[in-house]
């Protein structure tokens, strides 16, 4: 008795293969992480009263909006990447996942441009509680984007060899990576209005 069951096929009573359950559980914990950070935002903001700046007066709304679109599109290309594998179209998978990675890098580029303009205007994390929570929330989110780029980069490059040996399992991996990617995207959909617009 040596092999672990349900690595590819779903178990009947749970309807899931192991990795898919794993990623859902991981995302549940991520919800708690960002939930705590958002709660901190709420508590600090209600405590600050009138002293809290309007996001738009400090941050660049257009850049934030642009980045939202970038991430939304990258989520779509991620789905197409998975769908391509389901249709056994490996070349299209390659270009879709490649596009996802490029869009993520574009997001990071815009983000670091935003950061550096803030630094040029002498706005640092220690300037105010608003800047502190801004840098913390977007920083933790950016780390998640970087994590996604690393995983997707691996699955696009060396990891994609699995397509030859075990296509079903590889397709599952893309599905799991996609679930993570959509979550990171979703976090931004909350972050953007809360920080830039409210």
């Amino acid at each position: 008795m040596d092999t672990i069951p349900y690595t590819v096929q779903a178990r009947e009573d749970t309807g899931l293969y192991n990795a898919k359950l794993g990623i859902w559980l991981f995302l549940a914990s991520e919800v708690m992480l960002f939930g705590a950070l958002f709660s901190a935002y709420v508590l600090l903001r209600t405590g600050a009263g009138a002293g809290w700046p309007a996001g738009a007066s400090v941050l660049h709304v257009h850049l934030g909006a642009f980045n939202s679109v970038v991430l939304l599109v990258s989520s779509m290309t991620m789905i197409f990447a998975w769908a391509s594998l389901k249709e056994r179209n490996f070349p299209r998978f390659k270009s879709c996942l490649g596009l996802t990675i490029l869009l993520a890098l574009l997001f990071l580029g815009v983000k670091s441009h935003e950061y550096s303009t803030k630094f040029e205007h002498h706005l640092y994390p220690n300037t105010s509680t608003f800047m502190a929570i801004y840098f913390l929330l977007t920083g933790v989110h950016a780390l998640h984007i970087i994590g996604g780029v690393v995983v997707n980069g691996y699955l696009w490059g060396p990891g994609s060899k699995m397509w030859q040996t075990d296509p079903d399992r590889f397709t599952n991996r893309i599905e799991v990576a996609g679930l993570y990617w959509h979550f990171v995207d979703l976090v931004w959909i909350f972050l953007f209005p809360v920080l830039y617009l409210l």
Binding site: M1, Y6, G35, A36, A132
Partner: protein
């Protein structure tokens, strides 16, 4: 002791087999050995504290001169060093000792066996979880040698003190991030394993109670730790990037206004911390209940009374533990309405624990009990945990908590839960599963010498703490309350506690000797199921080889079918039709 286990076709190298192993049993043992070392370290730190509390200002005999001039000039402990010891005793005991033992060691070793699985669902993650845990532990250890020493703001790390503490606190935070990451990897793995890898026929209400407690615990770790991670990141930013998440405006330190932007909230930390730390106490106790239940069921030779209500209770306990956290904060001025809510939930959460304990007590009724060492520890767990739990009720009501908050009464209360409670359950578990792991039994004589004095001295250590607390002696005082008039009458108790703590230490020696000696020389077991138990871990070869079961097991019955009327034997294993 593990060497005989390898009847494995493709031989792995020593490193892959014992060091970077992905086998849940090896990882469980790695966790177990590491965590036992941390437990001993936390215990030794406590002995140093106890000396200072019993004999304040007197040089520590023997080791005093090795502690360094910065910590104990002339062997006399400085207050700062006491604070370091206190914070690190708490941190090490909770995060590096007890939880890794209960979950990392017992959980890892037993859960796949008890559900009839070949391994955990994600073996590589399992290995990563151990190594990240070790990294966190090493970070904590290294912090003792930093300028200013280790973290000294208590295991709770309350700001603003922790925000402005020495660099040891930064290491504490980084260490915690590692530990949280490790526990995240572990908890995902446990839940996935229990839900996905159960053997055919092993339905949820046929799971051993131990597995249920591990499942609930994994959910607590999964969902309660991330808020502490968030809080840890914020405190880290406060310390290294100069932010003011937890620093209110207008803070003055040693007469100097602190140069920060201000606007932060110290209560924010407390809320996020206790959102983890209350569920954490159920992480410290639920698996212990699981261990004790297995051992009691086996040694009374009849089914557990009310198995189903125990299962529903532990699930309910898990849910409730997320909405009681602010009972640690009654005295922060958060308001009576909020207090009323948390008092209510706190009273409600005591119910499931009482149900579980009651079921175990009633189970004893009419059993033909086998009093081996494992069973003695398991039986002692019941009243000890009972004392710990019942003394918690006055702390959960805000009126009585005004008097008791932050006194030695609190220290007595939670130590009854974790020391004679959880630690006894851990001992029980070690005596009980040792034969499965090594193929040998531990020595009963040494076991008795370990058990009876431990029970006696545990109570001598912790019972007087209630008296100290009721007299109003605060916790975290480096001289045990000498400067306070109201403490004078009870101060002699401090000496007594200290003497008893050293006796308690002395009577752990038979255990250590027993553990090592029995591995090499203990009486060999004659069967794979020496206790004549019913659950699946005893259906494996001894010790279980890689892949665990000779053939994939099938399950036909519930976990505790002992003395079934009409059966040939007084135990009916789950895998026998």
């Amino acid at each position: 002791m593990i060497a005989r286990a390898q009847h494995h076709p493709h031989e792995l190298s020593f490193w892959r087999k014992y060091i970077f192993s992905t086998d849940h049993k090896i990882i469980g043992l790695q966790y177990g050995i590491t965590a036992l070392c941390f437990l001993l370290l936390g215990f030794c730190l406590m002995l140093l504290m106890r000396w200072q509390l019993g004999y304040p200002g007197e040089p520590i005999p023997g080791v005093g001169k090795f502690l360094g001039e910065n910590n104990a000039p002339g062997g006399v402990m400085l207050p700062e060093f006491y604070n370091e010891l206190g914070a690190m005793h708490g941190t090490i005991m909770v995060f590096l000792g007890v939880v890794p033992l209960l979950v990392g060691a017992f959980g890892n070793y037993l859960v796949p066996l008890q559900i009839g699985a070949p391994d955990m669902a994600f073996p590589k993650l399992n290995m990563a979880s151990y190594w990240v845990f070790l990294l966190g532990g090493v970070t904590m250890l290294v912090s003792f040698f930093l300028p200013g020493g280790a973290a000294s703001s208590g295991w709770t790390s309350y700001p603003p003190l922790s925000d402005i503490a020495t660099v040891g606190q930064t290491f504490w935070l980084i260490g915690m991030v590692f530990i949280i990451t490790s526990s995240l990897l572990g908890s995902v793995n446990f839940i996935a394993t229990i839900l996905q890898l159960r053997a055919p026929g092993l339905t949820f209400l046929r799971l051993p109670f131990f597995v249920w407690t591990q499942l609930v615990t994994a959910f607590l770790l999964l969902l309660a730790f991330p808020p502490l991670e968030a809080a840890g990141l914020m405190q880290l930013m406060d310390r290294v990037a100069g932010t003011s998440f937890f620093l209110p405006s207008g803070l003055v330190i040693s007469g100097e206004p602190l140069k920060v932007s201000g606007g932060g909230s110290v209560l924010l930390w407390q809320h996020l911390f206790w959102f983890l730390a209350h569920p954490e106490v159920y992480v410290l106790i639920a698996p212990a209940m699981g261990i004790v239940s297995e051992i009691i069921a086996n040694n009374i030779r009849k089914p557990l009374w009310g198995y189903k209500s125990m299962v529903y209770s532990v699930i309910f306990l898990g849910f409730m533990s997320f909405i009681v956290w602010a009972h640690h904060m009654y005295l922060t001025g958060m308001g009576t309405k909020i207090s009323a809510f948390f008092q209510t939930t706190t009273m409600i959460i005591s119910i499931p624990s009482v149900i579980i304990l009651t079921c175990l007590f009633i189970s004893l009724w009419g059993g033909s009990i086998r009093f081996n060492t494992a069973m003695l520890f398991a039986l002692a767990f019941l009243p000890m945990f009972g004392i710990g739990g019942l003394t918690g009720l006055p702390l959960g009501l805000s009126a009585s908590d005004i008097h008791l908050h932050d006194t030695y009464y609190v220290i007595g209360h939670f130590h009854y839960v974790v020391a004679p409670g959880t630690i006894f359950a851990i001992f029980a578990g070690i005596y009980y599963w040792f034969p499965k792991i090594t193929g040998r039994k531990m020595n009963e004589m040494l076991g008795h010498i370990h058990f009876w004095p431990s029970l006696f001295f545990m109570n001598c250590v912790f019972m007087p703490m209630f008296a100290l607390g009721l007299a109003g002696v605060s916790r975290r005082l480096y001289d045990g309350g000498q400067q306070y008039a109201h403490a004078q009458a009870v101060l002699p108790l401090n000496k007594m506690i200290t003497v008893c703590a050293f006796f308690l230490a002395l009577f752990q020696l038979p255990f250590m000797i027993n553990l090592v000696w029995s591995m090499i020389k203990g009486a060999r077991v004659k069967s794979d199921n020496p206790w004549e138990a019913t659950t699946l871990e005893w259906a494996t070869p001894t010790p279980p080889p890689h892949g665990n079961f000779a053939q994939a097991p099938k399950v036909y019955r519930g976990p505790y079918e002992y003395s079934v009327p009409g059966a040939l034997k007084d135990f009916s294993p789950q895998n026998e039709a």
